[in-house]
Symmetry: C2
Subunit: 90 residues, 2 copies
Amino acid sequence: MHEFVLVDLIGYLAGSLTTVAFLPQVVKTWKSHSARDLSLAMLAIFTTGVLCWLLYGIALGRWPIIIPNIVTLLLTSAILFFKLKESLQL
Amino acid sequence: MHEFVLVDLIGYLAGSLTTVAFLPQVVKTWKSHSARDLSLAMLAIFTTGVLCWLLYGIALGRWPIIIPNIVTLLLTSAILFFKLKESLQL
């Protein structure tokens, strides 16, 4: 029982960090109006990957994988949107 | 049996995409010598989070979580290194 609680805690910490991480990037890109140094390929591939992680978490029934990947998907989609908008304007 | 194979395949696809994604970013940052638009907070928090995912994967004994997070850790550490180098020079 305790072992599972600790494992889930590590999972939630991992999910929180790799999710929260994209918030300062969204804020920075929003404020600077510049996504030039961000790789479009990185953003497109990563966002697709996060969608797959979400499906994997649903299949395993593991909330520490499901919940953060929903939020990460929203944040990385926002950054991808900024980048696409910038790329199409150039 | 088949169900587990499919679930693991989705996991491997997810891990491959969110890992491979950082390769074009490493190449872009390496070539442009500019990491200005990348958030230092994003890189630092994300890299720490990937380390936690690695520990979570080890605890669950799930290779689709372990393997890609080792590679992701190396790639994001490289981008974080470029960013820190640039930040300290400014």
